[in-house]
């Protein structure tokens, strides 16, 4: 049963430092197990948010050896244990304590995105008819568990702190799910371009890389929306066609 050293970030918004803890690692353990073991053995006051331990609640987001990950889905056998394993909180959100961040900014952003506005019902009983082919694409975005790892790794938020002007990959994908929905009639392109800062994304694909649900955020949500914004605001030929297109 090998003993592994963990360097865990301890502190609050005023500052902190890495503290070393040793604990035994057994077969099948994930990082969250190790954190719980450290809590039980040597640091009962270590703050850590978790819930399902199955990669579905998105609570235990942190940075393990520098990469944003869900602690419950990071297996110890996949990490090099010959040197200390670092665990620190997400960097793009205000720290509350130890490994726990205040992610409430994300929920505030979500309220500002225009809501789903369906067309008139297709049937007299107030229901709609959709073809599976039309909703295939948006169903991918519904897999999101809101762990906010994509928000955390995005350098626009993480390094440049553009929280006031950029909504981040999670909410671009949320907008894409609404915007591409076959029943939706709302137009969110102006908001995306001006208020939500779609142009800040410079396509590093880091969000796609860290998504535990393997949502292809950049290629399936961000770039398609960038192209729609180009259609609407930057393509002179499209503009010309629109001018001469008969109004419905």
């Amino acid at each position: 049963m090998p003993q592994v050293t963990f360097k865990v970030w301890r502190g609050n918004k005023d500052g902190g430092q890495f503290t070393d803890y040793q604990t035994d690692v057994t077969e099948g353990m994930v990082v969250l197990d190790a954190v719980h073991q450290i809590q039980a053995e040597s640091a009962p006051d270590l703050a850590c948010r978790w819930n399902c331990k199955a990669g579905k609640c998105g609570s235990c987001s942190a940075e393990v050896n520098g990469m944003p990950r869900l602690m419950c889905m990071t297996r110890m056998e996949d990490l090099p244990t010959d040197q200390p394993v670092t665990i620190e909180p997400m960097q793009a959100f205000p720290l509350i304590r130890d490994l726990v961040c205040d992610v409430s900014w994300n929920f505030e952003i979500k309220t500002k995105i225009k809501k789903f506005k369906p067309r008139k019902p297709d049937a007299e009983d107030g229901t709609w008819r959709m073809v599976q082919d039309d909703v295939d694409r948006v169903q991918e975005f519904r897999k999101c568990i809101e762990c906010f790892l994509c928000q955390n790794v995005c350098h626009v938020l993480r390094d440049h702190h553009k929280h006031e002007t950029f909504i981040g990959p999670r909410f671009i994908a949320y907008t894409a799910a609404l915007e591409m929905h076959p029943l939706d009639t709302e137009d969110r392109l102006a908001d995306l371009k001006d208020d939500n800062g779609l142009g800040y994304c410079n396509i590093t694909k880091c969000c796609t890389k860290v998504c535990p649900e393997h949502i292809t955020l950049t290629d399936n949500a961000i770039i398609p929306l960038k192209e729609r914004v180009v259609d609407e605001y930057y393509d002179p030929i499209k503009k010309l066609f629109r001018m001469f297109k008969p109004k419905k």
């Binding site: 050896n65 960097q91 790794v153 440049h160 702190h161 006031e164 396509i203 890389k209 398609p224 180009v230």
Partner: protein, 288 residues
């Protein structure tokens, strides 16, 4: 541009990270790969010579609007040229090289390509160096303002690049039509026999054909093509040509990075191969 009013952790400096893996490797490889190609293609473009051999024409010089070869000692205008010899009305300060005119299209297409943007922002501008790695500067404007707003021109570059594929396909077809003097220039039959004029397949033909295939996979798998084939519609069941084109392009698009790199390397190699043949360094082998 307002910064966040949230109380956020301190920004990390250049290269600061807790990552243990070789995060520096990817941007380094991109830097060296793209840098090497830019240096080579610029050098090749300024040569203005050794861009055709027998039925082969370098993709960096295609379409050969005007042949500058006669200015460099070539006896006559090559048969690839569209409008004859390099005209006298082109100002002397413009180097006599057709490639300098032609290369702007593929260069512009690749410069504005969504894959390359992400890659060269990391490798050449460290914005960011890699995921979860500290950056050298605090200020950031992204593609929201000039000059990077110009990246939105990508679809126009796509239109031109698609035409370019048609031209290169034509070149690959022409590369099967060998002339009488091919053997005299140094070409050899791989399996013996007489080198007759007319239809044939040489190693150069295969090199040029593969070049078109790779460039086609890259160009028609681009995000703009995906957008036009159905990405811009919320009703895939009602697309005029059905869902198949969107699905095929999406399939190519999933490997866009691989197409981008293989096509880039092969364009460089195709030019190099034909250059070596024209310079008499390598021998062109004809299969039949």
């Amino acid at each position: 541009m307002s910064q966040s009013s949230l109380s956020l952790p301190q920004q990390r400096g250049l290269g600061q990270t807790q990552r243990r893996d070789a995060w520096w490797l990817q941007p380094l490889v991109v830097f060296l790969g793209l840098g090497a190609f830019v240096v080579y293609s610029t050098w090749a473009a300024f040569q203005g010579a050794n861009y055709e051999f027998g039925p082969y024409l370098s993709p960096m010089y295609s379409p050969l609007l005007f042949d500058a070869g006669t200015l460099f000692g070539q006896a006559s205008v090559g048969h690839h040229t569209w409008f004859g010899a390099w005209p006298a009305w082109i100002p002397a300060f413009i180097p006599a090289s057709p490639a300098l005119i032609i290369l702007t299209i593929p260069a512009g297409f690749r410069f504005t390509c969504y894959y390359y943007r992400g890659a060269y922002y990391k490798a050449f501008w460290a914005d960011p160096l890699n995921c979860a790695v500290g950056e050298p500067r605090n200020g950031y404007r992204g593609e929201n303002f000039w000059p990077l707003l110009i990246q939105n021109i990508h679809r126009y570059m796509f239109y031109l690049a698609a035409l370019y594929i048609v031209v290169l396909t034509y070149d690959a077809v022409i590369a099967t039509q060998f002339q009488d003097d091919w053997a005299a220039k140094g070409g050899k039959m791989l399996f013996g026999g007489e080198a007759r004029a007319g239809f044939g397949i040489g190693v150069g033909t295969l090199v040029m054909t593969l070049n078109v295939i790779l460039l086609g996979g890259y160009t028609f798998g681009c995000h703009c093509a995906r957008h036009f084939s159905g990405g811009n519609s919320d009703h895939h069941s009602k697309l005029p040509m059905g869902k198949k084109p969107y699905e095929c392009i999406s399939c190519l698009n999933r490997n866009h990075m691989k197409w981008a790199w293989t096509s880039l390397i092969w364009v460089g190699f195709t030019d190099f191969y034909i250059r070596m043949l024209a310079a008499g360094v390598w021998t062109d082998w004809r299969l039949f």
